[in-house]
Symmetry: C2
């Protein structure tokens, strides 16, 4: 099985499939389920009449209901962390390499649960169930648009908490997540310290969103808001802002990768159809064409307002003031070459946690993918994860 296939699934572009590595599949089909939460009140006090999110699980819930590992998904991710919904799904979930029977997150022992967040980006993915600006406001019968309330990582966690409550789950063995998922995991550790003895933040900012990344997020939002089709968020009756969305997703992709990836996947070759970039103003390089195809492909299933709301939830994240509440031991897994959340952030926050008495360790994954080494090369940390979860 090709790592390139997973990458292709993530970025939606056959042009980007140059690298490969072995991945073994989760061995059972996965069932996507819907959780309905009525009359949800956000952290800021706004009411949402009906919250619907998708969720899935791997393994069996034991009788004591205390063998649960919660996985939170990243910015552009979905609940599909492992396995496939059907035999013909091209690639299994993004962390399939570490979730399954006998794997580091051992589904013979653990009940692993993963849900779509509020304002999930992939609104047009038939497997995704989420609630956000693209959802129908029951009060009006039309999509909320920007009337949807601003939501926070704490709100994401509260929806997950209600899902766990509905299943009679009162404690978690661990909470894990990559990137934006690591943010939810740390929010969990601060919000429900008595429920969360272990946290595994992978490619993580630590306990707050760094100001530099707030700047990056502003720039990711920018092309959407420049697109006249965005229309202040009111595009559900017309053409969606696909050009802006494609450009936003291209920025995400580029920031999430690395020099080595670009060297290996594209090199300095021109995109042949356009002629010589040295001679023609409009002639592009392969790396440009690859980014364009990736963004265009992903834009087709992404909602622009959901992107902006997800960006906002990331910007506002901080549990730095709540650090003393956190009881969990923490395994940070940063990635070499990560230019969104560089490894020094994990080191910095591990040190602060240790200084107040928490156990905190840092294990770094490597590879050519920058930030996305935390997805594609997570198996490198498999033994560290297994050890961390063992006791």
């Amino acid at each position: 099985m090709q790592q390139g296939g997973l990458w292709g699934a993530l970025v939606g572009a056959a042009a980007l499939l140059a690298l490969s590595a072995p991945v073994a599949a989760y061995d059972q089909l996965v069932e996507k389920q819907e959780f309905l939460l009525e009359d949800f009140v956000t952290e800021q006090g706004a009411s949402i009449a009906e919250v619907r999110v998708g969720w899935e699980a791997y393994g069996e819930l034991n009788e004591a209901r205390d063998n649960v590992i919660l996985i939170c998904h990243f910015f552009s991710g979905t609940s599909n962390a492992a396995g496939k919904y059907s035999e013909d799904q091209a690639q299994p979930g993004y962390w399939n390499a570490i979730i399954g029977p006998g794997k580091p997150i051992d589904t013979d022992r653990f009940y692993v649960i993963s849900s779509d967040t509020l304002v999930n980006l992939n609104v047009a993915d038939p497997q995704v169930i989420t609630t956000g600006p693209a959802s129908i406001d029951p009060a009006t019968g039309a999509p909320y648009g920007l009337d949807f309330p601003v939501v926070s990582m704490r709100d994401f966690v509260e929806v997950q908490k209600a899902l766990l409550d509905s299943l009679g789950i009162e404690s978690l063995h661990a909470v894990m997540g990559a990137s934006g998922g690591s943010v939810q995991a740390m929010e969990w550790a601060a919000a429900y310290p008595e429920m969360v003895p272990r946290v595994v933040p992978v490619i993580s900012p630590g306990l707050d969103m760094p100001p530099y990344v707030i700047g990056l997020l502003k720039m990711w939002n920018m092309p959407i808001q420049m697109d006249p089709n965005w229309n202040g968020g009111a595009y559900y009756d017309g053409e969606p802002p696909l050009e802006g969305l494609s450009n936003a997703l291209q920025l995400v992709t580029l920031n999430a990768l690395h020099f080595d990836w670009a060297d290996t996947t594209f090199g300095r070759a021109p995109a042949e159809k356009d002629g010589d970039p040295k001679a023609a103003f409009a002639a592009a390089y392969k790396v440009e064409a690859g980014l364009q195809a990736s963004g265009d492909g992903r834009a087709a299933t992404t909602d622009a307002n959901h992107f902006l709301y997800m960006s906002k939830a990331n910007m506002t994240f901080s549990v730095a003031e709540e650090i003393e509440r956190i009881r969990a031991k923490v395994l940070f897994i940063p990635a070499e070459g990560d230019m969104i959340f560089p490894p020094f952030l994990s080191d910095r926050w591990a040190e602060k946690l240790r200084a107040q008495g928490n156990e905190a360790e840092v294990v770094t994954v490597t590879g050519p993918f920058g930030h996305l080494n935390g997805i594609f090369n997570i198996a490198q940390a498999g033994e560290a994860i297994a050890d961390f979860l063992a006791d």
Copy 2:
């Protein structure tokens, strides 16, 4: 004198002036001069009837005309590497800390010359003289727009060569430059190896533009091309694409800086005028407002087409195939935390040059500014530069 002032001059935003460090001024007023080159033929064979570029010099040309150091400017820079044009200029040139009497680039010994490039961005800066899409095409009496031929780093060098020819200068003691200026310096070393015994590429990609940075440059161009006022480059009769240009310059600024800069300059504070970002969709953080003010300020003196042409000249840069022509010894000066041209690029190319017998050393500058440590903290490499130029 405040480093913050220099930063402010570079990014045009008083909001960004948090950091300070001592800088001593070049001690004489600088005179900007114009060089006219008629019937210039580009690397690709296109003719430009009249090329005009600005230039300036510090120190005295000796009788043998062999004490010349050429300084090439960066992407958004100008010829003003040191000193001031008038007493009331807010800040001296960008490398003033290392150019002057008794300084590492000692103007008591060297004649230091610096010119505006072709397609210089700062078309509306009254001190800048350049030729590009915003210039009047003598054949039509109207601005060239996208009819201006694509130009390359080699073309920048040929214009500089013609300037030196006009001054009777047949050899160079050294060629130096930061970022896009380092690119011109390496192009010089490959184009005129017999003239260039020493090269100092600061915050440099090495001998070609990495594919990853071609991707970054595509994304920098994107907002300009999304702006309806850009109009395929034909905006000289109407409103310029200031929104796109501001966004492009914000991307440049953010990519050229670093986490530490954002922490120190802004932290996680909200931009007060907008309310609480956790409650209001449109409420921003200070880092967002700072970037916006910076981009808006710089857009006022920048030409959008020149930006795109400068970006193209950077994308197409490669002298990797000509490495064997290079005779110069090379002092690479990368910067800690540089996310445009990370230090490993300097190490990689220094090794390749040493492998073919060139002397090549690497001295790294540090600080909170990422890429821009190569501008703001260049004095850290002062002794290494002085030693390199001494023999």
